[in-house]
Symmetry: D3
């Protein structure tokens, strides 16, 4: 385990709760980071509230039958169980399940414990069992699809807080995750504050544009604002709305 | 761009709004067209109303990094933006995204503009960003799955109104699209009127059959109606219901 | 067709209606059966009620065009139609569609007939057409995704009640299927009674654990119950709740 | 097991040995059969000689662990072993392995036995183990890729001589298989004689065309021969070559 | 059709014949172009000689049955035939087959014609029929896998010399293709001269490194040459070898 | 890095050089290990000699662009370079490339260095660049397919000698790898000696069987040897051949 140097501030967390994964994707794209969207995952049951938190990681490798009988769960050091008890409140447990959803990455009891401990969410590029129970929790959860078989069938929990792959994206412990209805973006820790600030402005502008479009405006010249008129309108809108 | 010769009549549009993609698939199958169902797409948020309209097409190719910086959107001729402003009211914008949903084909602002312009719908074999916003619109939208990254990441908008592939189906500008809860059928323009007429009759018969089945009838002999009794019952039902 | 020797008792059925696919998966895993979860299917429209029933099977092979014109449905012996009329009440029709959802495995009229006949459910590793109509029925249905094209496009119905593959799982006629929100487990007939009994106990224990976790308990030592305290607490809970 | 009515004549066999899978594919396409090429298989080690023979089929379903211990091979009735001993000389053993090559469909000892018995070839849409040994035999073999694990790992041999799927193609017992460097075509038994005759002519014409092209001719007007000159040249070539 | 502005010089062609796709990939990577390797294609029969030439493109879309009977080949304007007769000598015919190798992109007669016309090669992200015949030609050919069915089964030839996708890479008419045993790189026309020059130097250095490694040198410090000794050795080697 | 406790003896190495991956797969299957065959890899250029050695592992995660410029190779601690210089002679370098062959796992210079250092082989579930050069080496190499792009495009080298996934198989440092024409088996270190011994006997028996089959024997009763005659014949053969 390494100790991530970055700590998400309350201000950046609040800002990120107000921005979309689409805006973050664009802001990272502008910086040359084109591959930070976790591919192939969706919310278990989206409730219209964003997930924001730093990544606490769990790495699975394929399960070898002799090392993964049902009795391994009796071991107090089993990494999956330890992960659930040590992921810090406000953080997100991110699992590298090698995109294999043929067996579960976790089930509702463990995810409930994570929620009760105040964690911010859970993400796997595999699947959850008892997904209905997980979807009923208040804490956001993202996966590929439901999967009833126990994780021991295909996944051996191995490492905590090492860099992992999740849905083809590198996730370093301490990176900041943002989840909404589209899915989950991974923001490198060192960029989180500036991305949060920049995207807050982007959201303001997009709200203005959407208002204009709903009022009948064309997008060319407005989005992006290449005309003087569009820029003036936006300035006026900002004055008027205080954003 | 080519100018499609066929124009969807109000009568055919109305008929198609009353038939299912399943009926259209069967009617096309009878004519030897076995591959007109766009594979792998589903409604962003189905509202129980069918999508009907002619195809206005947009072709993407894979994005080359040097040709697709964020600044291309400042170009008033960017094909994606032009598509959104020129797809005719009542038509459907259909995008060839090469079945690649790792980046978005479009986002909620552009799709909102399309809806405000009176277009009939939008279809991509890729994904939409801010899918929640798109799902909240009244206009039908079909895609593979949500995807936050900007289209510039993987897609370069190239052509308008050329024949394209969408979900393994050929789509010619002016073809008629029908979408429902199952997905989207592509009806060759030259067949749209006769398919609409034939399917209207099929729907009438299927409503009769469903009524019979709900009343306890067996399907053999009834669906299709191979017995004299079944044919007589249907004739009587048509008299009674005026269909 | 073979006649399965096992008949699901009312007691076992009732027990299975109270257990999750996750519990069954674990119980089968303990017996060395690691591959009984039908991969890649989900409920058409889940209503919070489990599907329980023995398997009546239908095998499709790829359709050869000359053998599968639309007129084959006029044949009173067409295996798909016969399946719908002969699957026993309380049983589940399970279809081997070779995981190919590019054409439908069945549509709403046939599935409605199956429901009216008192069958317990329908499962395909392909797709259904008019999935909306099927989702509106009270009978559970599981598939990969909606698919409008008629089954004749890609599937020839061939055999009834032979062992099949469904979603990479072997299904023998008479096996017991359990479906919930996660998907469908296949329980070998010979194990159904003991699995049902064992899982009933597992569910009781998991309800206890969930209650503890919701009250703030940690999972290590409790799940599984490796401490004397956890075992005593569970014994007391069982006394108190009568479970 | 059913008894196929058709028997491949020596004349048709000889003709098919002289035609390519490409020609057969085109001849079947002209008759509306578009899906007779076994997808995803290639020769284990191609030796420039075509495989021709009728199909003797073996169906695998996914292996359930308790039914497939290593001891099942002691059973004299094990269908895989029986297949190897009963596939008629001159026929081809075709296996439905559900396109799953993660475990073997057969190994070199069984395939050697098949070769020694005078069979014409073996095809699986899975993989062979000890593929090197199989490639060293004189008898043609087609598979997806080599695979070391025993078939018991994933495949239970179930049925002999029932219609099957192989590489997304329906194969009926008695159908005629033609294999060359491109792969394997399945010719419905009832069409074998006429396809063989027609393709013999096509090969003659293609040899003529290739000679012309190698001599510098353009393909337009020649292939197909739409000009009078091309037709006259071909007639002259046939006279000259006696084909 | 557009007319590409760039013409490959004899010097750049000669240089590219001496460099590997790996070197070109690295040189493009340094310029921010990370996606120029055509994915999923390999030489039909590699002969140790590189393919170099500018791209002449052919776009296929999925075939609609009524538009693609066998008789379309009688049409002197059929784009596939026209492509074969108009691709300039020294150029490479590149086909967008949407990565679908279930039917052929072309066969040996057309490819022979292309070779006789002095073209530099042919590439498809689909498959070739009569791949053995194509492999026997002197002209390089790259595809996914052999495929016997006629292109009409799944591909309608539509456009010549428009930008296309091939193996997930954008290919613009006039781009320079380099093929070797690894596969095919697409070099944007505007970069071809500088890439050829830079890679010539890279190859020289790699030959030096390989000589050193074969003589027992470690790679760290040498590859890349971060030590003064390594740089001096390379300078001496260049003096000695005249490269 | 952990230090594996097991060291492969010369005797076990010699035995394994005489057995096939198929035999090892069966021996592991008998012990309940069903998933030890690395899926999807093949020899770069098979030379009829087996690869045997213990696993030295390298783990890649997806590359983040800002962390993986070309200059990282100047770093003397870059894990890929360190792996090549520290993998012990007689061992096999095994790379977890997450089954992603869109960019290379390594190229010919590094693999040549590995060969010169006396390593026993290299395995990746991705691809190699300059595969032709690697295939020309005497040291065995296994991959998915050739891939020209530098590993920096998609892979960041992260860890040495941690447990990894390779082709869906868990590989622990020190496990014993056996490669032949079929592919690569992973033998858990603790089982290597007994598996080598058992398989040596299996190979002896299979050689006997193959001799019998080539002489015209049927497989039933012989393979496995369920008859007294078969067992007596084998005993006699062992006496005669000294095996």
């Amino acid at each position: 385990m390494t100790t991530p140097a970055y700590t998400l501030s309350a201000e950046t967390r609040a800002r990120l709760e107000g921005v979309s994964t689409a805006s973050v994707a664009t802001a990272l794209f502008k910086r040359g980071l084109r591959n930070q969207f976790i591919q192939g995952v969706s919310p278990v049951c989206y409730k219209g509230r964003r997930m924001v938190g730093q990544a606490f990681t769990l790495r699975y490798i394929p399960a070898r039958e002799d090392r993964n009988p049902i009795t391994v769960f009796r071991n107090a050091d089993h990494p999956q169980r330890v992960a659930v008890e040590t992921c810090p409140p406000g953080w997100v447990l991110v699992m590298d399940s090698r995109k294999d959803a043929r067996a579960a990455s976790a089930g509702s009891i463990l995810v409930t414990r994570l929620a009760r401990r105040g964690c911010a969410g859970i993400v796997t590029d595999g699947g959850f069992r008892d997904a209905e129970g997980i979807g009923a929790l208040d804490m956001p959860a993202y996966h590929q699809r439901p999967s009833a078989p126990t994780n021991l069938t295909l996944h051996e929990a191995l490492d905590l807080n090492v860099p992992i792959a999740c849905g083809d994206v590198p996730v370093f412990p301490g990176d900041v995750l943002l989840g909404d209805g589209d899915g989950v973006m991974v923001i490198p820790a060192a960029l989180a504050d500036e991305i949060a600030a920049e995207c807050t402005g982007m959201e303001s502008f997009e709200d203005f544009v959407l208002e204009q479009v709903n009022a009948g405006a064309a997008v060319i010249g407005l989005y992006p604002p290449t005309t003087d008129a569009a820029q003036a309108d936006y300035a006026a809108w900002r004055d008027r709305t205080g954003r």
